[in-house]
Structures are given as structure tokens and as C-alpha cells.
């Protein structure tokens, strides 16, 4: 019980003092995760829409694989990205290992299936509603996908936030490919893992609360910008 109390105190102290190191860690966490969400959305949203609108031979298999990939342990993704980016791996020459770019790549791989799968479900329902109208209006394939993405944007924002939630709290993969290097690749989650390993539970809890606070703020900011919760109908 004591640890939780201490953790709350520690979180308050961290936020009030907001020292440079903590700020750096927070900024890097946000930068890595928001970039990963942006890239994963650029891939996942149209992919989900495309899967919802098109009928092709291996569609069921692709969707099943996508849903299965959502459950992939991040550590496995981390190991895979490590092997790809290692100097001894196929993309080693790019020198991306132990950089924020490597962490972004790992997170994109982790959350793209999630975003694609949720957007597929959303768009599929919307497509069922719009199907006849869009065919009747002779919309091209691209126009259909764009219209569905636009009109489904609020639900898709939820998909993106789900991706953000999974990415911002992820530790296994980014620990492997980022290396948790101080002043270079240390983010909130890897710092929490580090402090937990050191037995500094209160400090780790404090960082955890900062992480939650940031996740809540990002959610509120994005909902605010998207005005998601103001109109219940759309």
C-alpha cells in the first residue's frame, strides 16, 4: 500500500519539478508514439477500408491474418525488427538500430494490424449502409474509400487512439530495438522497466502515473480537436 502512496507522491513531485531529463523522456515518448500512430494510420486506415470495400480471393485469409497479428507479442516484433536492422541483418547498413527510428518501425508493425482491423470493422458497417448509394452515384473505387474514411473519421479516430494506447504503453519491443539508451532512446516505459528492476517502485509508479496522465491528455486533445464526444449521432 505504501508504495502506491509513495508512487502518487513521486508522480506529483515529478510533474511539479518537471526536470530536464524527465521532459526529454516524455517528449521522446510522444514523438516516437505519435509518429508511429501517424504512419500506422496512413497504412492501416486505407488498408482497412480497402479490405471492407473489395471482394477478392484471399480476403478472408488476409482478415484472419490481420486479426491474428493484433495478438502478436511485441517482444517478437522487437526481435524481428532487431534482426532486420542489426548490422548483420538485411537493413543493417542503414544504421537504424538503437535509434528512435527503430522504435518507430517496431511500433508501426505492432499497431498497424490493430488500426487496420478496427478500421476494417468500422468501414465494413458504414459500407453496408452506403453501398447502394455510392454505386448509384457512380463513385470510383478511390472516391468510395475516401468518402468512407472521411465519414467514418470519428470511429477511425478511436482506432487511432487504440493504436496510440497500445504503442505508448509498449515496452518489450522498444527495449530491444531502442536499447533504452539514456538521452537517446529512453522513453517512459523503458524507464519504468529500468526503475522497477532497480527496485525503485515508488519512482517507477510515479513515472507510470505520468504516462497515464499523458495518455489521458492526448486522448482529450484529440477528441477535442475531432469534437468526437459532442455529437452522439455522427
Amino acid at each position: 500500500m505504501d508504495e502506491i502512496l509513495h508512487g502518487t507522491y513521486e508522480a506529483a513531485r515529478l510533474i511539479v519539478t518537471l526536470d530536464r531529463d524527465l521532459l526529454e523522456i516524455i517528449v521522446l515518448s510522444l514523438k516516437v508514439t505519435l509518429t508511429a500512430v501517424a504512419i500506422a494510420s496512413l497504412i492501416g486506415l486505407p488498408m482497412g477500408a480497402w479490405l471492407a470495400v473489395n471482394r477478392f480471393r484471399f480476403r478472408r485469409i488476409v482478415i484472419a491474418v490481420l486479426n491474428a497479428l493484433m495478438g502478436l507479442p511485441p517482444v517478437v516484433v522487437g526481435l524481428f525488427v532487431y534482426m532486420m536492422l542489426s548490422r548483420s541483418g538485411p537493413f543493417g547498413a542503414m544504421g537504424l538500430l538503437f535509434t528512435p527510428s527503430a522504435m518507430i518501425i517496431a511500433q508501426v508493425l505492432i499497431i498497424t494490424p490493430l488500426i487496420a482491423s478496427i478500421s476494417h470493422q468500422t468501414i465494413r458497417d458504414l459500407w453496408a449502409q452506403y453501398h447502394d448509394l455510392l454505386i448509384s452515384l457512380n463513385a470510383t473505387r478511390g472516391q468510395r474509400i475516401m468518402s468512407l474514411l472521411w465519414d467514418g473519421r470519428r470511429a477511425l479516430l478511436t482506432a487511432m487512439l487504440a493504436g496510440f494506447g497500445r504503442a505508448v504503453g509498449e515496452v518489450g519491443a522498444i527495449m530491444i530495438v531502442g536499447g533504452n539508451i539514456e538521452h537517446a532512446t529512453r522513453v517512459l516505459t523503458t524507464a519504468i522497466a529500468l526503475e522497477t528492476g532497480r527496485g525503485n517502485f515508488a519512482f517507477a509508479m510515479g513515472l507510470g502515473m505520468v504516462l497515464i496522465a499523458i495518455a489521458v491528455l492526448v486522448n482529450l486533445a484529440i477528441h477535442g480537436l475531432g469534437r468526437t464526444e459532442r455529437s452522439s449521432v455522427w
Binding site: D132, L133, I135, N138, S231, V233
Partner: protein, 265 residues
């Protein structure tokens, strides 16, 4: 045997003004008349409708009638191209590439896009390359004409049933289609909304849009129809001018029963 051969129906009472307006829009030759020859629609080996022979002339307002399951909706969707043709021919009077963009369809349950009323109505214009500002200006004008002027910025899904169907009509008419198909557009509406819809349709027809509409409502059929297609069991049972159909009695017992209000199965 029901008669199902095509009957060329006379042109409706289109005024010269309407003709002029059509010509002004600078279009190529009309896509009408539309002819169906032995047209059939199948699904999973089962015949939905057909074979059907039918001519839709350049002008007029055709009402498609018949009991539930007779194939009215399928016939409209087949003509519009939403239902795949399994056999026979559907012949437009213009090349296939032109016909899709010059017709419109209003569904029984309105499809409301998750946008504002204004953006819903402007949508077909935007799809066809009209600049957003122009499209919205035209849509606003159309909406006002239909009595939706006060609702432009409302989200379409929150409109009442009648408003939603008027929006559907506005969206269907915004590109001044040569032919408009309507599938029981007033099925779920009250009398006032029905009257408003009918007025809009009369005006659209006056402006030169060919109208083909299915309905269950005998009163509506009598008020609106210039000619009638009576469907029964997937086939066009009778095709006649409205006056003849309603006043001189239909030729087949099913149609007679139907307009008399008998239960026709």
C-alpha cells in the same frame, strides 16, 4: 398468360419550356428511351424477375405496382444497374459510358451520409468534379427549394423521416438526371411529407426528368401515374396508360383484384 410484351407508351405532357431547359444543358442525345428485352435477374440459380420486355419512353411518370415480392424493387434496381442482368438486354439510347451519370435512384429507406444536410446534397456534384464552393452553393439553393433551407448545417442522420427523404430527393436531383428511379419513397412517411414529396416529383417531371417509381399506395398511384406497370410474380403483368388502367379496369384478374384492394398473393 400474362401479357409481358413491351408497350410503347406515349410521351407525357412535357411542356416546351422543359424541352428547352434540357437542350440548354448542352448534353448529347438523350439516354432515353430505355428498352428491356427479355431481361432477367437471377440470384443463386433462382429467377428473381423476368423475362421482361418493357419500354421507358422519354417523358412521363411511370408507376410500378404490384404485391410484395412481385419484383418491383428488383426491376428498378435492374434498370438502374444495381442489380446484375442475368439474361436478355437493357438498351439505353446512348453509349453505356454516359448512362450511369445521367440517372439517379431514391431508396425506400433513405441513405444518410454522416455529413451535414448541405454536404449530403452537394456530394454528387463534388464526386463529379464540381468545386466544393460551387457545389455547396447549388446544394443550398436546391435545399431551400425543397424546404430544407433551415437545416443546412444539421447532421443528416438526425433529420426526421420526411426530411431525410426530401434530402434524398434533393441529392438525387442535384445533377438534373434524365431519369429518376424511386423505390417506394413514401412508404414510411405521413400524409404531409408524402404530399410534399409528390409536389417535388411533379415539378421535377415538369422540368424534364423522367420518373419511374414503385409504390404500394393506391392513392398515390392514381394521383401521380401517367402510365402503370403492374408486376406480379416477377413478371410485368400489365402495362397501360394510367387512365385506361384505373378507369377501364385492368385486363388481368390479379391486377383487378389488386386495385380493388383484394389481397393478392
Amino acid at each position: 398468360m400474362p401479357t409481358s410484351q413491351g408497350i410503347s407508351l406515349p410521351a407525357g405532357p412535357a411542356g416546351p419550356a422543359a424541352l428547352g431547359e434540357r437542350a440548354e444543358s448542352g448534353r448529347a442525345a438523350s439516354i432515353l428511351p430505355l428498352r428491356l428485352r427479355g431481361a432477367m435477374a437471377r440470384a443463386r440459380g433462382k429467377v428473381l424477375i423476368g423475362p421482361i420486355d418493357l419500354d421507358i419512353t422519354r417523358r412521363g411518370l411511370t408507376i410500378v405496382m404490384g404485391p410484395n415480392g412481385a419484383g418491383k424493387t428488383t426491376l428498378l434496381r435492374l434498370m438502374h444497374g444495381l442489380q446484375r442482368l442475368s439474361a436478355g438486354e437493357i438498351i439505353w439510347s446512348a453509349p453505356q459510358s454516359q448512362v450511369r451519370d445521367r440517372q439517379a435512384f431514391v431508396f425506400q429507406s433513405p441513405v444518410m451520409m454522416r455529413r451535414s444536410v448541405l454536404d449530403n446534397i452537394a456530394y454528387p456534384l463534388v464526386l463529379h468534379g464540381v468545386a466544393r464552393a460551387d457545389a455547396r452553393a447549388q446544394a443550398a439553393e436546391m435545399a431551400t427549394e425543397m424546404g430544407l433551407g433551415g437545416l443546412l448545417d444539421q447532421p443528416a442522420p438526425v433529420l426526421s423521416g420526411g426530411e431525410q427523404q426530401k434530402l434524398s430527393l434533393a441529392r438525387a436531383l442535384i445533377r438534373a438526371p434524365e431519369i429518376l428511379f424511386l423505390d417506394e419513397p413514401c412508404a414510411n412517411l405521413d400524409g404531409r411529407a408524402t404530399r410534399e414529396i409528390e409536389a417535388i416529383l411533379q415539378k421535377a417531371q415538369g422540368d424534364g426528368t423522367r420518373i419511374v417509381m414503385s409504390t404500394h399506395n393506391m392513392g398515390q398511384a392514381r394521383r401521380m401515374a401517367q402510365d402503370v406497370v403492374f408486376m406480379y410474380d416477377g413478371k410485368v403483368h400489365e402495362c397501360a396508360e394510367a387512365t385506361g388502367f384505373f378507369e377501364d379496369r385492368p385486363k388481368t384478374p390479379e391486377a383487378t383484384g389488386f386495385i380493388n384492394g383484394d389481397i393478392v398473393e
